[in-house]
Amino acid sequence: MSDATLPPLPLTVIAGYLGSGKTTLINKLLADAGGRRIMVLVNDFGELAIDAELIAARGGDTISLSNGCVCCAIGGDLFQAFAKALDASPRPDHLVIEASGVAEPDRIANFARAEPELRLDLIVTLVDALNARTQADDPLIGRTLHQQFQSAGLLLITKDQLAGQEQATGLASWLSTLCPETPILRGEMDLEILLGPETNPPPSVDQKHPHDHDHSHEDMYERWSFSAPLAPDVEALRVVLENLPTGILRLKGVANSTPEPVEFHTAGRHINITPAPGVTTHGLRVVAIGLAGNLPTDELAARFETLATSA
């Protein structure tokens, strides 16, 4: 049965029209879940390429993987899908829903916005570099595609290799005029971007250099972290999160604020601050990830230092 005392289950919605590569992304997600127990709800198993060696059990509309992930087919009934995810025992670490090609992802995300045991983490909309422009003008489905772009926290352009540099760049700039606030990625999407950084940011050992950044995380991404002994007021934190500089794909942190400790996440333009009663460590800790060379580390350092000293 469900357990209301657990932290809210984060939800990532993978949206995008037919052929935009949702299944490819899900296959990758299941293959390198890296210790996270992810429950993935898909439209059908047909296209899933789950490694036979990875399948631990198979029954009806559920496939359990040996890496702790579970994959379920949903027949379009979101009520059942969410009830199933929340009642799963043990509850997964992360819920991922593959929206149908014509789904308006906000209709799915709204469940997580309403349900206290869920937390909307991210809507990522996949955009097919070859076909999206034509589809977006189609009288039958154009409106749906635009809705998918508009509700996204992050946009991922897929098939960019096939389309070629010029077409992909053209699409990216067209998308950025449609959705100026939304970060746009191309080609691949790392698990840490899709689901957020796995662990809480470590406290800094050196108080004189409270922030730190490294490029070691493959070479595509850059990471920045920060910690401070005092936690800011939640409203001041919210103001900072709502006005972050561009270039941050993911940001995660904890703050032992008053009146209650909170955990916060940003995923592209989605922001989330949730109570985290279990947090006992002091102060403020933040980690941010962006594309290498694109992460505004100085800006971040300046804003969080100001925030920490105003605490």
């Binding site: 979101l78 009520f79 090609g101 916005r113 409106r143 749906t144």
Partner: protein, 542 residues
């Protein structure tokens, strides 16, 4: 004993062109032997005469071609609607025409609950018919300030909850969630719009529509809902039909007391088309006399009243275009072609004219690829199709099951808000279908509107809205045509017209017994013709 039984009646309306009227019908082994006068009906030999319907009028049992099984299970909750409605046990619930009526009824039901933690759930509430302040949590808090209460609106897209129910979902002042309606001071007023906002409450109150559909008592109640309005064959037009559900339906429909033939349609969007086709083909041979399996249901768009139907230019009259697809049009093409090529009989939900156009295109494409006669694919609702689309339906051999009840329940809203006068006047165009030779049925989509084929026929005949406006008099059809639509017409869309839908030799002896003659009465009173009983396979059902 010959085993022959003869029912006599004041009049038998047969729907058989060879013998439109009779007074006696002989049955044996559940089948009709003879129809005519006393002498003709007695021609097969010694018979027992059953005179119980001697003063009544017998018609073929009605066929409800589009309804949902949850219309039975939903009676587990308290009905709070604006119209009189009969419970599955045959007791009628009086219409609640003011908020005070609704509250009084809920209060008396609340007082019957002993366990203080059991929630009180209402359904069928229809604010568009009520005057004064819209129902909110303060109204419901008067019933109980401690017991969670939720009242589902008749469209199932909204509910109103009291403060304890809102608290369960952690909806409090400061909640900023789409669909949670707020008071001036920012606290929720109790109204929740759309499933996402309703989910936290429904889940905590354990209201689950899928469970209601599969609850054995709900299935039996559905049989009774149908029986009480004269229906002897009823669809459940969107079912999951997993093995467990099918076995349960086999069991329940085999019970001698189960009063109807049940025709569930497999949800075709529940998996890849090829698997659905195999599933439907595997189910078909499991059919019995009272359980018909094998048809499938496809969904295209949403609903007009929710602004989610797919409309062509000039789109919605007043209000946003929120048209949705449940399946991408190009995927519909593939799915329809595949299901058609495998010989599956399809029923496709289409409300808006854009959706009906896409469905027509998909059918045309499928038929060009795999020509096949007598497929009986049926467009369901088809509310906004124009005459050109009906012409295409005729040439493609499609049937139309029109949502005639919509005219009464939502017609005013359509005229004033959603689609405007022009299209409201030609919606659910029964006359177009008949003029152009499209096989016609009409339906209730229960529980969206109440199941009652005579009421549905009345809507098709009079096209009168709740406020008394007549929508498009040129689309009115005659009583005889409407009666055909709720019997043979609907049976045709299910490929069952060879065995039910009319009273003639060789067919199943399924009858609706009426208190007066619908053909002789005032067409404006067609909905008031009483249903006295039904007969299934020659046996009175209750």
């Amino acid at each position: 004993m010959s085993g022959i039984k003869i029912f006599n009646a004041r009049k038998i309306i047969t729907m058989d062109v060879n013998r439109p009227e009779a007074t006696h019908v002989a049955v044996r082994g559940g089948r009709i032997l003879a129809v005519g006068n006393k002498a003709e009906a007695s021609s097969w030999g010694e018979a027992e005469i059953d005179t119980r319907y001697a003063d009544q009028v017998i018609m073929p049992g009605f066929v409800e071609g589009h309804a949902h099984i949850v219309a039975g299970g939903i009676w587990k909750y308290v009905y709070t609607g604006f119209h009189d409605r009969m419970k599955p046990d045959g007791k009628s619930v009086k219409a609640m025409t003011t908020i005070e009526d609704v509250l009084a009824h809920l209060t008396s039901e609340e007082r019957k609950l002993e366990d203080p933690d059991v929630p009180l759930v209402g359904w069928g509430f229809d604010p568009i018919f009520l005057e004064g302040r819209r129902l909110d949590r303060h109204h419901l808090d008067q019933i109980s300030a401690t017991r969670p209460i939720a009242v589902l609106h008749s469209n199932f897209h909204l509910l109103t909850a009291n403060t304890p129910a809102l608290a369960l979902a952690q909806y409090t002042k400061g909640t900023n969630v789409e669909g949670v309606v707020l008071e001036k001071d920012g606290s929720p007023n109790g109204e929740l719009q759309e499933m996402a906002a309703m989910f936290p409450i429904l889940r905590r109150l354990k209201v689950d529509f899928s469970d209601l559909s599969k609850d054995p008592e709900g299935v039996r109640a559905y049989g009774d809902v149908a029986r009480l309005c004269g229906v002897t064959t009823v669809t459940d037009l969107f079912a999951e039909l997993d093995d467990e559900e099918v076995s349960q339906l086999e069991q329940i429909t085999a019970e001698p007391e189960f009063p109807v033939r049940l025709v569930p349609a497999l949800n075709a969007l529940g998996g890849p088309a090829a698997e659905i086709a195999d599933r439907a083909l595997a189910l078909r041979p499991r059919s019995t006399a009272k359980l018909r399996l094998g048809i499938v249901k496809l969904m295209t768009d949403g609903a007009i009243q929710g602004y989610t139907a797919q409309l062509k230019e000039p789109h919605y009259f007043k209000g946003p275009n929120n048209g949705i697809w449940n399946i991408a049009p190009e995927q519909l093409h593939e799915t329809v072609a595949l299901l058609h090529s495998k010989g599956i009989h399809m029923h496709i939900h289409v409300n808006g004219d854009r959706a009906s156009e896409v469905a027509l295109d998909a059918m045309e494409h499928a038929l060009a690829k795999h020509p096949r006669g007598d497929h009986r694919h049926t467009l369901q609702h088809v509310q906004l199709a124009d005459r050109a689309q009906f012409r295409r339906m005729a040439s493609l051999g499609l049937c139309a099951n029109l949502f005639a009840n919509h005219i009464y329940y939502f017609g005013d809203k359509h005229y004033e808000l959603t689609i405007g006068p022009d299209r409201a006047n030609r919606m659910d165009a029964c006359a177009n279908a008949l003029d152009l030779g499209v096989p016609l049925a009409v339906h209730s989509d229960a529980p969206v509107t109440p199941m009652a084929p005579l009421f549905t026929a009345w809507c098709a005949v009079n096209r009168q809205t709740a406020s008394g406006r007549v929508l498009g008099p040129n689309q009115c059809i005659s009583v005889a045509e409407a009666l055909r639509a709720i019997t043979l017409g609907a049976a045709y869309t299910l490929k069952m017209d060879g065995e039910i839908g009319s009273i003639e030799c060789g067919k199943r002896a399924d009858f609706a017994v009426l208190g007066s003659d619908p053909l002789a009465g005032n067409p404006r009173e067609l909905k008031d013709v009483p249903v006295v009983a039904t007969v299934l396979d020659g046996e009175p059902t209750a």
